[in-house]
Amino acid sequence: MSESEKIEKSGYKIIDVQEVYAKSRHEYPLSRNAAVYWYFNNLNKPLPLTTDAMLGAVDEEVEILSIGLSKVHEDEIANHEDIENASIHLKIIPSTKITFLSNFYKFVIVLDMKPSLFSSVRSESDLGVNEMIRTVIGVIKSLVSSCPISSKVSFSPKVYITVLAFCPHCKPLVSQVLLQGVCTTETNIEEVTKSLKEQFDKFISNFIEVRCLINEEYNGQDSFPLDVDQMGKVPHASAHLINMITYGFFAMNLLPDVASPGIVIVSDGVFSQPDPINLDKLLTQLRNASVRVFVINMSEVNNGNPSSLNDFGVLSSSDFLHFLTTATVGACLSKRDIDLIDRTSKETANICQKRLFFIRIQPLSLFGVVHQSKFEFPQLKKKYIEGFPVKVNAAELISVRLREGYVIERLQLIPKGEGQINVYLSVPWRDSVKIAYIIRSPWPFNNNKSTYVDISIEGNYSVLHDLICARNQALPSKLLTLMKTQFWKHLASLTETDKLLLHFTSFLSNPIFFNIPNSLKQGVNLFDLASHPNASSTPQLSTQLNPNDVELSEFAAFWEPTVMIDIRMWRKWLHVHQIILVLEHERPIAENVYYPNASGRYVSITARKATTDITLHFLGQYSSFVLVESLSYIKFIYEDDEKSEKPCSFCVIKVAANGPLFILKLAFLGGTSSVIRHKTYNDLRMKLLNLKLPISDSERENFSRSIQKQFRNDHSLNESLGKTGKSRSRVGSAVEINLCTQIKTPLQHALVRYDDLFNGKSDSPPSASLQSHLALKYLLYRRNIWTIQPCSQYSLSSRSLGMIASVLSKKRQNEGFKFAYGCQGFVNMVIELDMTEKNSTIPSCSLENDPRENELLSCLVQYVLLPPTSNMHGTSERISENGEEEDNENSETDQELQLITECWVEPQHGFVETEDDEKQDLAGCTSQEITKAVIPIDTPSVQ
């Protein structure tokens, strides 16, 4: 007799639940593993009805917000006066719609700036460009308005919004970031939209200027040169969409980690189809970071009349966009949907909230809205490919598949006999092809019994033929061949993933895997990586270990894959967190950091001492054992603080160090509860931040007076901001300073670094040859060129410029900047400034009691010193941030010396907040003003 039957017999009435809204109990987003566990744990089980329609079972991770019942049942429950005692049980059935919500969301809205914006096709009365900004504001407004999910419960998450303008054809010199990282609420919405509109207008007027120039240039010609390569197969424009999403992805990294991410593309929908390889890469990237993609299509004018109203050649690729959004569990919206929001009832969540906030593991329909077309399309056919058993718990398998973009189409419960559940998963693989993945598992899930998997493919006949029947034949086009290869790769990768999943989940099954061999306990690393680059990167058992030890080799065999897996693929199985640190540099700073020595070389800024302190001493002790020296560590996690012998899980720590920049990645096994994960993460973070670096007396003498002053300032800064607990203590004569500073922004992506292109011998100032073009496009930027006019009395050498540079860098250090990079004369210093929404120069309530404290976002400022150059042309230019080149003066002389400094600022919305004297000049600045504020500070030093 099943449980439900028992309850039914005992006089309880069981009601099927139609809808459930659930959210994470903590402030972290709900992992897919947790969602899957919760769903399958509660599926088909009668749950007692408790107050306010809460399901009884308390879950560690999931909290239920609201339950939707059919009208009849709702009335019935409403009639019961005392709900607690009502003999009613609720049951989640396979058809129950489960909606997960998050406490925080972050959306990067990318505006697709194209020449087609200047066309009147899309609306009754305005050009696309005006429609676009109106729609964007409409979206933001509809997101922050109250979101009722039932008659009683309303849901109001925190929403961080970044708005970018992406322009493919030309690079306007104004900032493409219209708005960054604003926690938008109903109170600040007016202000936010106003500022957005201003930025947009500024961008547009610049865009139009460039556009007019281009149009004029081609006016005389018969045709515009279309962006098509000579070979003729794939136009270059195919990268457009990918670039746009990558750009959005970059911006996403700068927003808080705890929020559920989404990229919203506002576009006319005219996209070229990306080629299969890049498309797969993009989808993998998005899925790994669980970024959902939404598209707001501006061009859906007249349904069912695709051809008539458009400009010639302007056709929306709506089918592809549909595919892209469903493949990332996002959604397509049309401009009309947004326009209608105002007119719809406010009693339910509006369409924007429904699509952007509600996360479902079972979509309503896989291919979205039924394509309303007047054409007849070939019917989809289904072809079975393979079936095999997998020795993994079905819940684990489902979680991994969900991470790969699969969705649960439907469930089938067969209660007969031992009980079986069939879970029908599927993933849209191409616009008209989907892969169906059926998991047959004993019900309830059982770790000891095999799960069976059937894979089949659905698509139209010719695609299936090319993919399957013609597997070993040559196909007529390169594209088709690519597609075929990608398909079989995908299937192969599924098997690979399952193998590793099985491998990881077997961690607790064999004590050998978690009993650390004695030889390792002394801190000996398990593996050596071949040091010379030509050798294969297969890890070799460390030479200090005995290769004949059977237990050890078994232990090693288990841990080997952790070293091997590509870090980008981690997220398929593991939850990844990262800590970014800037380590204290080596003192003293050599003068040749700023100018070349006699042989024309520069000295790099390093942090060897701090690096070894962390990798050798700290991590060696913190971790359970060392996997690869200075690279990978394993930390076992115990349920009750290492008292028990058996760990419950483990965490991989991977280190990437580059000069003072130090990045730690923590990866937890899939399914590790978010509480444990964040506890471990914070624990490690605090320990790292408390590390001290002693400074010897001899070094201390090198500290200039200003640096001494820095102690005081830093101290006061720490107290005022209560930041990362960094402090400097004086013990006797020895001075200890913090070994590292945490940077919240993912600095590895945003760090401005110059390539080797500029070797100091070139005559012209380096062009913007940045390693990261995205950072270049994204960050606000101002370059200052200090031109030193040679005069007869003094002879200036690059050395003297180097001295000035070093003074400037010391000034920055006083302000709290840290060296993040220094190579070949390029020196990058960073600081993170806290930003508030209100201008702090206007006195407001004290910070410590501010409930919005964790909403504070930081603004990364990078100060780059370039190696001194001599200007042969005798013109000095000062390029201001909006690209105007102002000729200061033309001098006739041949040899001018130039010192170039650059300021790169994250375009964070808000005002700088600091109570630090040294930074008073920056207080109250917006991110755009920071770039300018630095010059007056520097000017006296240079003079």
Binding site: L226, V228, F323
Partner: protein, 539 residues
């Protein structure tokens, strides 16, 4: 039916009153035509074989203008167009005073931002008058411009669809102009420029006065006049408008009735036929591009979807749309939409993929004259005489049969090229085989042969009670397999589906269908005709 506009007007109204700022063509247009003609008489440009380098830019420009105006004149001199009691002079020129037009077209603010239509005997004025500032605009206008109106004069007998199209075009131009006005005062500047020219004329003694519109056109700065002229000429020459307002806002528009009825075509394709052609696209169809691929690719503006380039590049008359979609790695729906788009713009025709089973026949509108321009261009491309080739298709002819005449492979290629040319120029049509199931009124005389059929077939048979007996009387029905196969295609044997359609719907080979039809020939009858969906000759 002539769908060309008679004229285009630009009217503004504001604090200073109403004004007709520009119209094209203007009164002197006709004389200009003659002038140009006289000038060009000495050189026979059309047959001139001078190297192009000898023409200076001016002359080339003139030559182009000449060709346009010659066409205009032809129509002016057409005696059929002459009408009496009309607002049209010689059928082409609107014979209404400028001052009247000014009053008619400068509308009250209440009528703005709406479609405009006004018929005065045989002239219809259509447009979309619009307020110079959008409703939501925060800008306070300092200029005296209140509203403006780009209007077209059309023939009085224009269909409602044509009127709607011109209103839509007027709306697009108006919205674009308003955007530019809001952005950079474009309209006000242009207005002032035109007024300045007019003021200049007013200072000249009356007998020496030139037509102001002509002077406006000569001013390079007066871009709105040049724009409207470009719009007008585009509509008259090709039916396609492709302009950029103030070098920025693109207005791209097409009058399908004009595009599908080029001047040399000797029959008229109606809009409903174009629509039906587009709606009849089926997955087994293919498409043929009506011009050279390179030319078409060049016409794509930077706004165009790059996927179109892919589709045009893979276009192949022997491949069906799903095959092409697969080749280009694009969604099939997208390929359908793109083909529909190309057809609408007159750049493509939907055809059945070329194969040797296809049957073609001379089209009702084929140009059989030996020395027509069409025949000449055919000769240039295919090195054959058009009437000779057309005579091959006097009777419905299978392509495969032609192949047997031209046996060599190279000749096969040649015949493919010829058929492509003929299809592109609508000189031949394809015949399809339609099959009907005969339904006798009376019972067949022979007694039905009792056949042992299993239940499932019997069940199928019972679905067609009226033909059950006939079917059973057919000897072929004795073979269970055959009967089953035949029953599966019976739903399509109503004359609405040709064999190719049945092949697609039932996923069968042509030979299978032909064999089974042959076996059941006693109960079916066949008929060969055009596919009504994509035909331009069936109204």
């Amino acid at each position: 039916m002539n769908v060309d506009p008679l004229a285009v007007y630009f009217v503004t109204s504001g604090a200073a009153g109403n004004a007709l700022l520009f119209k094209y063509p203007h009164e002197n247009e006709k004389e200009e035509c003659f002038e140009v003609l006289e000038e060009t008489e000495n050189i026979d440009y059309e047959n001139c074989e001078l190297p192009v380098s000898l023409f200076d830019d001016f002359r080339i420009e003139r030559y182009k203008q000449f060709l346009i105006l010659k066409d205009c004149l032809k129509q002016v001199n057409d005696p059929n167009r002459l009408k009496s009691a009309s607002n049209l002079r010689q059928g082409r020129t609107v014979d209404i005073e400028d001052i009247t037009i000014e009053h008619l077209l400068a509308v009250n603010n209440l009528l703005c931002n709406n479609k405009f239509e006004l018929k005065i005997s045989d002239v219809i004025f259509v447009g979309f008058p619009i307020l110079a500032l959008p409703e939501h605009s925060t800008r306070k206008d300092s200029t005296s411009l209140m509203s403006f109106h780009i209007a077209f004069a059309l023939n009085g007998n224009s269909s409602s669809h044509i009127i709607e199209l011109y209103q839509e075009l007027s709306r697009r131009l108006a919205v674009s102009l308003r955007f530019e006005q809001e952005r950079c005062n474009y309209l006000s500047d242009q207005k002032n420029l035109i007024w300045a020219i007019r003021d200049e004329i007013d200072n000249v003694p009356e007998d020496q006065r030139e037509c102001p519109f002509r002077l406006i056109l000569q001013d390079d700065k007066c871009t709105i006049a040049l724009l409207l002229r470009e719009v007008y000429l585009g509509l008259c020459n090709t039916g396609i408008v492709e302009v950029r307002v103030n070098n920025l806002v693109r207005v791209s528009f097409c009058i399908p009735e004009k595009v599908h009825n080029p001047s040399q075509q000797n029959f008229v394709i109606s809009f409903s036929q174009i629509e039906r052609h587009i709606n009849s696209i089926r997955p087994y169809h293919s498409f043929i591009i009506t011009e050279k691929k390179e030319d078409l690719l060049q016409k794509l503006q930077p706004e165009a979807n790059p996927n179109l380039v892919r589709i045009i590049k893979v276009a192949n008359v022997t491949k069906s749309l799903p095959e092409l979609a697969n080749l280009a790695d694009l969604p099939i729906q997208h390929v359908f939409d793109s083909v529909a788009h190309l057809v609408y713009w007159g750049k493509a025709l939907v055809i059945y993929p070329l194969c040797e089973h296809n049957v073609y026949c001379v089209s009702p509108s084929a140009d059989c004259r030996p020395n027509s321009t069409l025949a000449d261009s055919f000769f240039d491309e295919c090195k054959r005489k058009l009437p000779d080739v057309l005579s091959q298709f006097s009777l419905p002819t299978r392509v495969g049969d032609l192949f047997s005449v031209f046996n060599k492979r190279q000749q096969k290629m040649q015949i493919t090229e010829i058929i492509k040319w003929l299809l592109r120029h609508k000189q031949i049509i394809q015949h399809h085989t339609y099959v009907y199931l005969e339904k006798y009124d009376e019972k067949p005389k022979t007694n039905p042969i009792s056949i042992e059929v299993n239940d499932s077939i019997n069940e199928e048979l019972n679905k067609y009670p009226d033909i059950k007996d006939i079917l059973q009387s057919c000897p072929a029905a004795q073979n269970e397999e055959d009967l089953k196969l035949f029953l599966s295609i019976v739903p399509h044997l109503n004359g609405e589906h040709h064999i190719e359609d049945i092949m697609y719907r039932e996923n069968m080979k042509r030979s299978t269908i032909l064999t089974i039809l042959d076996k059941f020939r006693d109960v079916v009858c066949v008929n060969e005709r055009e596919d009504a969906g994509i035909s331009y000759w069936i109204s």
